[in-house]
Structure formats: structure tokens, C-alpha cells
Amino acid sequence: MNEIIEKLLFYMEYPFVRHALAVGVMIALCSSLLGVTLVLKRFSFIGDGLSHVAFGTTAIAAAANMTSSLTVVLPVTVVSAVLLLRTGRRAGINGDAALAMVSVGALAGGYLLMNLLSAGPNLSGDVCSTLFGSVSILTLTERDMYLCMALSVAAIAMFLLFYNKIFAVTFDENFARALGEKTDFYNFMIAVMTAVIIVLAMNLAGSLLVSALVVFPAISAMRVFGSFRAVTVCSAVISVFGVLCGILVSILAGTPVGSTIAVLYIGIFFVFCGLGKLKGRRE
């Protein structure tokens, strides 16, 4: 035990580890807050689709030898999020199929580009780390770190400020609209926040595993709690706990960050399932 603590303290000396933890916690917080809404609105998979778009754009940015891909990836993802969430409500191609098309298309295109134009010596390693987010959280540049922090703080502030509106729009969009709420604006806001959070969270979990950050905390909290506020708070706690533990374990054991966090979440989910059953039996 002592050995582990010593090792942890030793790693904590490094600023990049502290940064990774701080950014991780912020990302965990905002992804879980918005996750509740996304899961309830039946948009669990939007994270997956968007992260694939982000992957494709990253590939293009890398092929074009851009230094900071975030500045390109973010706007492209935001635009896709707005378009995707809009088609969800229109006839023609339903949201589900649109999501699948965009997600697969971006993934295929991105990988193809990386293959054709790759400058790096270790292509499969690059792809793997973009998909599964192996170490990128530990190698964030200072500028990216501050950008991450600022965007997360903004997302959390927006969520708190519009908490009641987001609840109303999620629970019953028609009713909110009948009361004169600008539901289109709130849906737009949710789409933009989702895109921003997905791009941020990709640093942590990679584009294939980013949905775990969005879905698991919310679903676990819903097993046990019956009010929107309790679910939101609980999923934030689960998310922060999971990400902190995940990063620490991955540093100590040398496992990939994204999958460690995802596996931890799965464990937490089953624990909460059990708790929910117990609670149901007692009542």
C-alpha cells in the first residue's frame, strides 16, 4: 500500500500528471451533466457519431500538418452536431440512420486520409491512440489545457444557468414550446455544448470510447434515483470518481486511460443496478 502511495506522490510531482487530472475532472463533470439530457432525449449515440466526425477532421488536420488540430476540429464538430440534431426531428432520413451514415463516413474517410497522407512513422499507433485515446490526456500542450479548462467551465456554467429550461425541453418539448419557450434555441445550445464536450472528452477516452463518458454515469444514476436533480448530481459524482480513479490506475498500472475508465464505469453500472434492485425491494 505504502508503495502505491509513494509511487502516486512521485507522479504527482510532474505537472503534466496534475494537469491531466484537473482537465479530466472538468471534462468528466460536463460530460456527465449533459449526458443525462442526451440519454433521456434518446441521443446516447450522438457522442459516438460526433467523435467519429472529430476523428475524421483530426486526420485531415494531421494530413495538412496543422499544429493544433483543436481549432479546426471544434467548429466542424459543432456544425455536425447542429445538423444531426436537426435532422432528428425532420422526416426523410431519420436521426438514427443519419447518425450511422455520418459516423461511419467520417471514420472511413479519416482513416483513408491518414493512410494516404500519413507523415508519421507509426501509422497504426497514431490511429489507435486517436481511437482509444491512449495517452493524449497526458500529452496536452499548455495551450490546449487552458482551452479545455475554459470550455468546460463555460459548458458547466451554461448548464447551471439553463438547468430548468433544459429540464423542461428534455421532459416535454411541445409543452415548453406552448408556453412560449424558445425550444429551438435550447436545442441548438444543447447541440453546441454536446459537440464541445465530445471534442474535449476525446482527449480523455478517444473517439471510440467517448460515449462511455456520456452514457454510463447517467444510466447508472437513473438505476437508483428518481428525480432529475438527484440523477444529475449523482451522475456528476460517478463521473468524477470514475475518471479520477481511471487516470490514477492507468498511471500506476500503465493501462490505457480510456478503456480503464470505461471498464470502471461498467463496474459502477452493475453496482448501481444492484442498488436499484435493493431499493425497489425495500419500497
Partner: protein
């Protein structure tokens, strides 16, 4: 006093007209039923009245005071709501949205209003309970309490008793009649249930190939009225 007046109104969505040539008015204190076959455009009409959809043709004139949030709405339940983790209080409070503008949190007055309406609908004891664990009848009463937070003068209800058992249906009609008589709230209701029309309605709007608008007595003697009663398995009105 006329609250809503529609002139030569056509309603529809996505560029398709579903019902056309609608002429009627809703007066304050009315118990107004909208009848018609499935797919005849009853819900579309209600959504148009609520300004959720633009009218395809014609116009809707509403009394001034209804324009700033005097309308309460009880929509049909959506699949999303069936397993939604929200407490009864949270849902009823969300009915106070309309008067808040951009203020982010609820005031004490709005919280008190929610309490009063939960009391009125008999769901006060359930206020901390989770919505998805309630029975169908209880859920409808919660949504009605929410609608009342927004409504001062008029309630629009889309099939409020569909899926309820006979006891809960009775309760729901009782509550609505009380709101109509005691609080003088106008009730506008879409219903498939002949009971609603026979026992409670003052006026009826029938949408279909032949439209009808008038008092209940006249409706029951009209062609669409007889057809409606027949389709409900009842005898023609004597």
C-alpha cells in the same frame, strides 16, 4: 366573451393539409369537445391553436390576455416520459416556465403556485415520488397540475383519459368539471370517449369529411353526431 375565434382555418404539417374549412369560436367558460375519427386532424388543430404549428390557411384570433401565457396544455404522453427520472414537484414546477422569461431559477411565488396546484389535483402527497413509478391516472393528474401552473383561463387537453382505467377516467372528468365550474376555466378537449361529449360538453366541434360546430344538443342530432355515437357503440340520441 370569445377567447379564440377561427375563420376558414386549414391545419396541417409538412405542407400537407389535414383538415380545412374550420369555423368556430371558443367562449370563456365553455366545455368544448373536439371529436372526429383518428387521423382527422384533431391533434394538429390543437397544436395549431397553441401556435406549435403555423396555420396552413385562414387565421386564429385570440383574446389579448391569452397571448402572454394564459393557456395550459395537457399533451398526449410521449415515450420519453414513460421512464423519465423526475420527481412530481420538478414536473409541476416546470409549468411555471412561461412567466419566467430568462430568470434562471424559480421564485417563491412560483413554488407556492406549484404547491397549490398539486394540492388541487390531489398529488401533493406524491410530490417527492418519481414520475415513472406512478399509475397512469396519477401521471395524468401530475401533468394536469403542471398545465394549471401555466393556465389562468383556458386548458387544452389532448385525449386526457386515453389509457386510463374506468376509476381514473371518472376522477379525471370530475376534476375537469370542477375546474370548469368552480375556477371558470375554459376546457378544450379532444376526446374519443362518448361520455365526455354526452355528460360534460357544452359545444362540440366535429372534424371529418363533414364538419360540424354547435351546441351538444344540435350535434347529437346532426349527421356527424349520429355517426360519432354509432361508432362508439351507443344508440342515437333520443
Amino acid at each position: 366573451m370569445i377567447q379564440i375565434r377561427c375563420r376558414d382555418l386549414s391545419v396541417g404539417y409538412d405542407g400537407k393539409t389535414v383538415a380545412s374549412g374550420l369555423n368556430f369560436e371558443i367562449c370563456s367558460g365553455d366545455y368544448f369537445c373536439i371529436a372526429g375519427q383518428n387521423g382527422s386532424g384533431k391533434t394538429t388543430l390543437m397544436k395549431t391553436l397553441l401556435r406549435l404549428l403555423p396555420p396552413v390557411k385562414g387565421n386564429i384570433l385570440t383574446e389579448k390576455s391569452l397571448n402572454d401565457g394564459g393557456i395550459g396544455y395537457l399533451p398526449q404522453q410521449t415515450p420519453v416520459q414513460k421512464d423519465f427520472p423526475a420527481s412530481v414537484r420538478e414536473i409541476v414546477l416546470s409549468g411555471c416556465q412561461g412567466m419566467r422569461g430568462l430568470r434562471p431559477f424559480y421564485s417563491r411565488i412560483e413554488k407556492a403556485l406549484a404547491e397549490v396546484n398539486m394540492e388541487k389535483m390531489g398529488v401533493h402527497g406524491l410530490s417527492e415520488r418519481c414520475y415513472r413509478e406512478l399509475s397512469g391516472g396519477q401521471q395524468q393528474r401530475v401533468l394536469l397540475a403542471r398545465a394549471l401552473c401555466a393556465a389562468k383561463k383556458i386548458l387544452l387537453l389532448d385525449e386526457p383519459v386515453s389509457g386510463l382505467d374506468p376509476g381514473a377516467t371518472e376522477e379525471m372528468y370530475g376534476l375537469l368539471a370542477e375546474l370548469n365550474k368552480k375556477d371558470d376555466i375554459t376546457i378544450v378537449m379532444i376526446s374519443h370517449d362518448r361520455r365526455a361529449v354526452l355528460d360534460y360538453a357544452d359545444r362540440v366541434l366535429h372534424i371529418g369529411s363533414v364538419c360540424f360546430f354547435g351546441t351538444k344538443e344540435k350535434y347529437l342530432q346532426s349527421g356527424p353526431g349520429r355517426e360519432f355515437l354509432y361508432s362508439q357503440g351507443g344508440k342515437a340520441y333520443e
